[in-house]
Symmetry: C2
Subunit: 614 residues, 2 copies
């Protein structure tokens, strides 16, 4: 039951910039009141990277207004007036805000009466200049402290998030201690936008979601299919070399399977079905997870302890229902392929198996250039299945696997899922964003429900341990993430176009063809414009747009000397390497490809046990 | 809309053995009447390879009775009595059979009155010895001609196939002109039984159909998954090298897609769905075919004539409803993966593209050892979509593609599907059974329905030609067939266990490990028993049972000399090759693997156009 992985929601914690950010929200609300008298104030908290304020304005605020509001904010900031706190009896505050027509504040004060039992009869308010707000603080001392801010966007929000109440205008802004930090943040946002996999996906023709076919269902277009195929075949090689046996299981199963597994009861609202067969007497569901199929493979005959650990892996496509509004490119979809594996083993083997999975997971992340791994061990939650003894054992195995590696990890007490404790690895991408990476769980539910056993050394049936693990997680999500991580420029081994061959003129075409043939002999993916229709500069621009890893420009001189002019991706105009012998280029590019794919320090494969499935 | 492929039902035609077979049915019925007086005769026709007779007997016939019936048949055959025809007025025949209590014959004569208008008032009957039957003949002259026969099995059959009428006992038999032919036929049946993929699938742990998971849904177990993975990755290489672009498309689509394609209307009863989403406002169906997804890939942007032909391929898993009673191992299933491709091109390119597909298809069949290809060109049926002009063009393209190759083919007039003419290739397996092989169709429906166009040289939108093709057909069906074709002994390149290493004693284990490592360096799939638990003979038997392509026996002598003792699969006890240098074996086995996979005369790949998808 490993979860669909993905970018992790930012978590709260204490933000030292909170007073600055909240003060800027006040500054903005004051500016809006100055420019739009009669505006009613909702709430205006500090949030991650900035703040917002919900407002009801006499006329709708449009993006063009933001500049004027910012200008007014700067005036008040330059005036360097103090933020002043005072306490006021509740009744007085109610009268004050009611007189000013601030109905939402009145509503808030009234709700304090109800919600907060320990009310001492006063509320705190903050003022700066002529602006007054109901507020707990703290704030910065004076408005002059607010220098590096920017209003970002406008959205709608219901008062108290309740769609039966008035809709307010929410203005988002960001603020930083220094202009430099603000600039860096704006650059970061532009970088995020530039890397958006939905934008690159369209621009580079990587994937498509077709409205007629259905939202949340990804069509992998030819280029990205090359990336996926490389990833899949590499994944298979790596896993076979580590003693995994790979299988294929169907995408649907009879209802009784998911009744037994508990998926229908616990997860049914996310499942597609039922499909009625045989005049409605048989009910099938689309699989949301691969576990039951792998259990059936394990149970295809009676297993002996000598066969354990049995590591069953599959690139298994599952379908889960997501509401239309939550869908997001390749990263939140309705159908996706998991690199799913289930390891069946004894308790004595569990720690070792978890350790191997952990090492492989860390290596995977490193290989793709994800950095700063943070490891979480999530322990038993309040509501859970299984005995305390089982949880002790399972948590112990996870803990010890990490312990012998002497890696630092954080404990997320009670953060396990109801059927399993787990290890999560979180990593940062090329621009520092945190992503959910691999997950390892010990399942305490399915082995019981499906009575998963093996015959132990004493000839008795014994319950097997079942480890779930995903490394990529969802291929859709992982590859969508890679598009952003690599900004569309995939490393050589994954790239759809490893080499573009650009003949300078028609007369170099024959040589260009022979260069292409030589490259293809080495299993490189080559693009040759034939016939060369556009002028050379345009063809080079197109090859750059396609993100070719290398552009080889060939003309008469190269043909005569058996060389190529090499322009690596990202190299400037003058950085072309001229007169490179074709053989030398071939060796270099093949070596680069093979090194990327299997770095020399990639942890060695296991000895032969289990390599053949015979 | 390429069909699920598979073994072809035997077709009728005139069988010169028909009189012999029908006479033997009479002989059998007479014997049953002799042994079970009061038996009522149903019908007893000649069929492929033999005959049957449907009978209502005073007590149930059991398999143990067959020997007695055969013995009685031999007595009457030895008596060499003549088969005598006579004509008899209908009324007289009715009286005759009614007097003898032959109610079914009475029923038959009455039905002739109704069904056959041109009744001249007489019926023909045949007698031999005391047996009399309503029969058109012809028969052999005397019972002495019947020498080489055998009763095969017993089944139930409703009178006139109507389950509201009495159930009769059907006895099947076979008969041949000579004992030699009978023996050969019985051997052939044993061979079919021995090769039955359901039996081998269980015995060799190749696949499993789990009742709880659902019938008709195949779990590929580890060994057969190796075969599938090799086939798939080879299929991808071969297709990429021939300018195909490969994609991944989802397994479900919104109802409107299949309304537009016409699948729901024409094929809906075989489709799984609907799946209700978003409170029942959205209806999805599981894909029964990959075509709409590939059309969406083609339409992911406006296409220029310069991009054509665009060959879009996928190993796409589809689901189709089959009734429970018709399911058969891997060969008739509810979910299967097609090696599906759709080629989008101009009419000018169509013939060339079909020719290339045809050549590849023939090469595929040859490569897997299927022989005696017979080619059918199926033309426009009575009920069809599209204009005569379109059919002329499409049939012409298929015809010319075959014509330029000067291959003989048969025309199946009117045998096309309602939306497409097609080429079918039928082949024979290792024991001479005919199978449905690759299919090539030109679709005259979907390009219209989905408005599939490209921009031609004049800058105008033009309708694209869409060629459907499958080579394997269904991977489940094809691989199920391969199990039977190879009798479970897959060729080296596909085999799950290419080499088994068997150390003679514990002290040879270290050398066995180093041999294993050397083999694995060359990407061979190796099985090493470690530790060696059973005795050597038993381990060799187990390796033979697992169908290892080579068994290497290694002991002290081999370790000292750096050699191995090689026992190729199928070699007898004395045929072990001793003292083979490990390097020599390595080279030999790698060469064998690589040659099998890509025979030297495999038609060369296209030039580079389209090899990169950039």
């Amino acid at each position: 039951m490993a979860k669909q992985l993905g970018r992790r929601a930012g978590h709260g914690g204490e933000d030292p910039l909170q007073p600055l950010r909240h003060s800027t929200a006040h500054l903005m609300a004051g500016a809006v009141l100055d420019l739009f008298p009669g505006t009613k104030l909702g709430i205006g908290p500090a949030i991650k990277d900035g703040f917002y304020y919900d407002l009801e304005t006499p006329r709708p605020i449009v993006p063009e207004d933001l500049g004027r509001i910012e200008a007014r904010m700067r005036e008040v900031a330059a005036a360097d007036v103090p933020f002043e706190r005072s306490e006021m009896p509740r009744d007085e505050a109610l009268r004050l805000f009611a007189e000013n027509g601030q109905d939402f504040k009145v509503d808030l004060i009234r709700s304090f009466d109800r919600a907060e039992g320990a009310d001492d009869g006063t509320v705190s308010i903050y003022r700066h200049g002529g602006f007054v707000d109901l507020c707990k603080g703290p704030h910065v001392e004076r408005t002059g402290r607010i220098t590096a801010f920017k209003l970002m966007s406008i959205a709608g929000a219901y008062w108290r998030g309740d769609e039966t109440r008035p809709q307010l205008t929410r203005i988002y802004g960001t603020v930083w201690p220094t202009q430099k930090e603000l600039d860096a943040y704006i650059d970061h946002l532009k970088e995020i936008e530039r890397r958006d996999h939905r934008v690159l996906g369209r621009d580079l023709e990587l994937f498509r979601i077709d409205d007629e076919l259905g939202s949340g269902l990804v069509l992998w277009l030819p280029r990205l299919s090359v990336v996926r195929e490389e990833l899949e075949s590499w994944w298979r090689r790596v896993h076979r070399a580590r003693g995994y046996t790979l299988v294929y299981t169907p995408h649907m199963a009879h209802e009784r399977t998911y009744e037994r597994s508990g998926h229908l009861e616990k997860y049914g609202e996310n499942m597609y079905g039922p499909l009625l067969l045989d005049e409605g007497t048989q009910r099938f569901w689309i699989k949301p997870m691969n576990c039951p199929g792998h259990i059936k493979v394990f149970q295809s005959r009676i297993r002996s302890y000598r066969e354990l650990p049995l590591r069953i892996g599959e690139l298994g496509t599952v379908y889960r229902y997501e509401r239309g509004g939550t869908l997001h490119g390749m990263q939140r979809v309705r159908g996706f392929t998991q690199d799913d594996s289930h390891i069946f083993c004894t308790w004595a083997q569990a720690q070792g198996e978890i350790g191997k999975v952990f090492d492989l997971a860390m290596e995977f992340m490193r290989l793709f250039g994800y950095s700063d791994p943070v490891i979480y061990l999530s322990t038993r939650p309040e509501r859970r299945l299984g005995t305390d003894e089982m949880w002790d054992r399972a948590e112990g195995a996870l803990r010890e696997a990490l312990g012998v590696r002497e890696v630092p990890y954080k404990i997320d007490e009670g953060g396990g899922v109801f059927y399993a404790p787990k290890i999560d690895i979180k990593v940062r991408d090329a621009i520092g964003r945190e992503w959910q990476g691999p997950t390892i769980q010990i399942d305490l539910n399915l082995p019981e429900r499906f009575d998963v056993t093996f015959v132990n050394e004493k000839g008795e049936r014994e319950r097997a341990v079942m480890i779930h693990r995903v490394l990529f997680g969802s291929l859709e999500r992982f590859v969508g993430g890679l598009i952003e991580h690599y900004a569309g420029s995939f490393p050589l081994w994954l790239n759809w176009e490893q080499v573009a061959v650009v003949p300078i003129r028609e007369d170099a075409l024959e040589y260009a063809r022979s260069v292409t043939a030589r490259l293809e002999e080495r299993a490189l993916r080559v693009h040759l414009d034939e016939p060369p229709l556009a002028d050379m500069r345009e063809r080079i621009r197109e090859a750059q747009h396609r993100r070719a890893s290398y552009i080889l420009v060939v003309g008469g001189r190269e043909a005569a000397s058996g060389t190529v002019s090499v322009r690596p991706r990202g190299a400037g105009k003058g950085e072309e390497e001229r007169g490179v012998a074709l053989d030398a280029f071939l060796d270099r590019v093949v070596r680069e490809r093979d090194t990327q794919q299997l770095p020399s320090d990639f942890s060695p494969a296991e000895p032969s046990v289990g390599d053949a499935v015979g």
